[in-house]
């Protein structure tokens, strides 16, 4: 089973309204710049980790904005590797680097080796 957790890269903001007890929440993901407005009830389910109780559409949005991520992911490493892949694609637009680094080679490269390559 895949365990999930809330990403560390999010900001929560309560939208308090005068004389209204239950407030909505804004969740901002710094990883994707996605903003989501959820009700207090749903926010409680999200923070408590009851993801199976959430509506399917909301779950898709939480995954899309990377607000919820798999538990075993080390976020710093994940973001680093993703940025490297993104840069490889950008490089690929200008130079044909495919012959320099194949996917398997890229996997086997350590961070240091990759940095040297850049």
């Amino acid at each position: 089973m895949i365990e999930l957790k809330l990403s560390a890269c999010i900001q929560q903001l309560a939208l308090e309204v005068y004389h209204v007890e239950s407030t909505d929440f804004l969740i901002y993901s710094t990883r994707t710049h996605g903003v989501l407005r959820v009700s207090a009830e749903l926010m409680k389910l999200i923070t408590c980790g009851y993801f199976t109780l959430l509506p399917d559409a909301l779950m898709v949005l939480l995954l899309k904005f990377e607000i919820v991520i798999p538990l075993d992911i080390v976020e710093a490493d994940f973001l680093y590797e993703r940025t490297v892949a993104l840069h490889m694609d950008k490089l690929d637009d200008n130079i044909d680097v495919k012959h320099l680094l194949t996917d398997t080679e890229l996997l086997n490269y350590s961070r240091e080796q990759l940095l040297i390559n850049f």
Partner: protein, 278 residues
Amino acid sequence: MVTTVQNQPVFNVLLDKTLHSVLSPRHFLDYSVVTFHYGRALSLAKSGKIYLSGFYLREADRLLTQVLCPVTNQWILIYALPKKAFYFFQVQDYTTAGHLSEQAIHLCMQMQKSGYDFLFHAGIQQRFNLARVKLNSGMPQMGLEACSLCLVDLIRYVGVNAANPDNLELGIRNIYQVVIKTFNFLQKKAQEPESCFLLLSYFLKDTLSLPGTAQFSDDPRYVEMISFLHLFSFVIDRDFKLFRQTASRAFIHDEFLRKILQGYLGGPAITTASLTKL
């Protein structure tokens, strides 16, 4: 009535219904998480971001190993194999792409036998993907034959299951996709497009000459589709005389289909009025 929910494709609605009935909420969550990663890998591969797509694909593969329920695993594979095949197709690893498409076809057939009839359409799409791999790996004749077989099977299936509106809808949508995608693909990639067009036209006509094809269903969309295929085969043939003769009797109300024909003719937009004039 055709099954629709907020303009979602019929296939997705049927799949969603099935998954909710087969999987527990916990397993459905696993399915959502893994397929989301495969979906992202696919959209990145489509936009040409191969490295990023590969990154998400590896991440999805890693998550898939954590799903231990065999039923969930099988449903995830039905979703994931085509996505992986497309990634390898994009990186021009046609052997792996072909192998993955074959696996997907086999899985779809297996599930279809277990009573999930709507997966016939997913199987057809995989067969088309396999045909596309063959077209791209220097086997145009074999690829076009595979496309033609897809069309024949689709039309037969639509004919047999015409009473089921979901099947009719899915079948018609698939037929258009197979024809238009093959044509677009040949136009962009084929080394000898003219000979490929001739072959495609031959296969289209072969499909349309199947006994009883025109009478399988009297649904207006089916009739429209058959008219479109006839017209399209003439356009491919560059047989404008026959096109004009047939177009005058054609039954094409759909704006999008008219635009397709107009695009390939290179003339002014075809309207119902101009079709009558032709």
